[in-house]
Symmetry: C2
Subunit: 463 residues, 2 copies
Amino acid sequence: MTAVQTQAVLEHIEATLDDARERWFSFLRIPSVSAQPEHAANCGAAATWVRDQLASMGFDAALHETPGHPIVLGHHPGPGGHAPHLLFYGHYDVQPAEPLELWTSPPFDPAMSQGPHSPRVVARGAVDDKGQVMMWLEALRAWHAVQGTLPVRVTALIEGEEEVSSPNLEPFLTAHRDALRADVAVISDTGMWDIDTPAITTRLRGIAYVQVVVHAARRDLHSGLFGGSALNPIGLLTRILADLVDPKGCVQLPGFYDGVADVPAALAAEWAALEFDEAAFLGGIGLAEPAGERGRSALERLWARPTADVNGIWGGYQGPGSKTVIAAEAGAKVSFRLVPGQDPAAVVEAFRAFVNARLPSDARAVIDVFGTAPGIEVASDSRFIQAARDVLADEYGRPAVLIGSGGSIPVVESMRRLLGVDSLLMGFGLDDDQVHSPNEKFEWRCFHKGLRSHARLLGKLAG
Amino acid sequence: MTAVQTQAVLEHIEATLDDARERWFSFLRIPSVSAQPEHAANCGAAATWVRDQLASMGFDAALHETPGHPIVLGHHPGPGGHAPHLLFYGHYDVQPAEPLELWTSPPFDPAMSQGPHSPRVVARGAVDDKGQVMMWLEALRAWHAVQGTLPVRVTALIEGEEEVSSPNLEPFLTAHRDALRADVAVISDTGMWDIDTPAITTRLRGIAYVQVVVHAARRDLHSGLFGGSALNPIGLLTRILADLVDPKGCVQLPGFYDGVADVPAALAAEWAALEFDEAAFLGGIGLAEPAGERGRSALERLWARPTADVNGIWGGYQGPGSKTVIAAEAGAKVSFRLVPGQDPAAVVEAFRAFVNARLPSDARAVIDVFGTAPGIEVASDSRFIQAARDVLADEYGRPAVLIGSGGSIPVVESMRRLLGVDSLLMGFGLDDDQVHSPNEKFEWRCFHKGLRSHARLLGKLAG
């Protein structure tokens, strides 16, 4: 496509912005809370709403029932032939809105309010993920309106269970592998560096999440009568967990750092140029001193280094006052954030061996694995990432930065593993969007420029 | 008193044993559960019952109201003059009987059943403490019946809140100091070495019970977004607690062992002669390897060495499955069992300093103290202990052994501190009496010989 055609689409977007906002608000008014059974019908309504939007732009779109909420799948042939084929992933479900009393306006009645960056839209799902999905749908709509078709082939995959860990997504990907063929997946569920600096996420940490329960005596004991003779499983558990990370912040599982590479120099230079203010980052949560690995920069520690954290611990008496008990068992939940090159299964096995090596003969440990996913790195020189960098630079007047994320987006790994498709993570959220919290918001400026960026990307890839 | 008089009393006991058992059963039928408000009237009824028993033997006895359940206080002048003055302590309240479905007979309908040692009485309170109190009351009754008076001066102090930590006892001791003057306190709430071997407890461990809560960030954090930068208070707490005890089982608080003396050689020899079977002791709870201080005998570790045990721990997510959270705080309950020579207040301060020395600048710890009591050692060569050893040897045909207890009996310390009175701990319970559990029992043989031993002791002290 020529720049002229893209320009016409952008003009159409500006001319119809009020309509786009009204459609977005209609979507936000559907309380499609996937976790709450009383909202099951609303999840179905949101799925139908998305399907109808796709159909109105010429998609062959349908709802697919699952054991949970339906998945919307749609295809548009675009110009056909050898045009690039995009697989767009998003989700129509939202987090519960509770506690309702903390909202300044009703969570499912979207409101425009003023903030430091001018207008913002306040509603549950404003950004996560209805707002991000809408930018993309509206970019498609504008192309369809101006050109009568789309400039690329598009498959849309919009699920309704992302907020409840997508239990039915992988079976769906496997069952519909052929229908989901694409050159790249576009996922709009990430953030910008700041409101003026667009970003593409190229690294996501993986995870290995385990639970360990240490058992000793066959019943709880009186600490007066048995203290000094009987093994205390809480004491044992604290010693095992204390060994996990050394005073320099290095995880002590044998082989844990096998395969962990330093960040490539070029990417490291980009991250350094971001001049991340860790003091402000920590200050926002009441901390002043960075924890974690010594000798690494803040962004390395957050995006490119693996960690071990105890996420929960329990044992013995937790009520008010005192009880002189030696517990029969004690447990903890431990998660390892992983980076590309680490094998999650090997980390789990190393943890198992690490625990067992520290058990005296009277103790036994039961270890459960609640989830594993490898760290992900997307080649930052792919044509899709280059195209996205170009259009973001055009829209914002400054280069997009390549960033990482300390968390995981499991669908990225699922699509790579099950479909063989890499992802382009171009998102427009901000850190202060109150995602999953009361008063979730999406800056109007982010929505507006994000919508324009998606429209530009479609034109760029067609060219 | 002459041995002839004691012999007459013992004969009277044998002749009236059925009546004694009926009185004991009447006492057991009163469900005086101090912890359960619906049994408040039954606690009052049990107090009245005890007062009436004392009054029937010539005591000047009365109920004293407290903010909780009443305390029974009674005085008998005995022969007056310079006769030894005994202060008997016991309690009429019992533990809750639940879970009721585990009882083989109703907990407040005492039943005789057969066990390996022949008949036993099964009921809540059978031994703790109604059975132990009744042995002593019946010994007094026999002396009163045969001699028309008691051979010594006696003050009886029977409270109704021992099972709920005696919140009103110390104020009562303080307020009635003059009325509680005595040469020795006799406390019948301890056990024998085994059913054929009588015992006098001369050592009790004390305690310092603390709670520590470590605070870091001002709210819970996402472990993906913050892991590698934010301090994890659970990790910190495990490192602090893991430092508390070294691999040889030695508590690492500076100064913790100050004042801790080895057991005197004579007592150590008595303990060694007991040939305590630690393998059987641990085997009963499913353990095989002794924990605790290396290089100490089992009974030293249980009775004469201080310990540190984590009694409870909590933090972060404890529910099913996984949650990727870095908690804002984590806490633990820690108790130190103390021995004579240790200052509980100094132990608490050492713990406070130990924790604070391990806190990074971003963490703070809140430490609460839930109770302190010093370890207690009774001079084993006192005339009262000697008298008790003599009468127990007469009754059982073998010497009584001097033992310790790993737990605390707070009233012993309270009476020493507030009244200046040392205790004689002569008890007749067995380890398998199911105290505080369903099917609590007292061996008939223990009751019978315990009653006779108390009668002998009264005669011996009068002499």
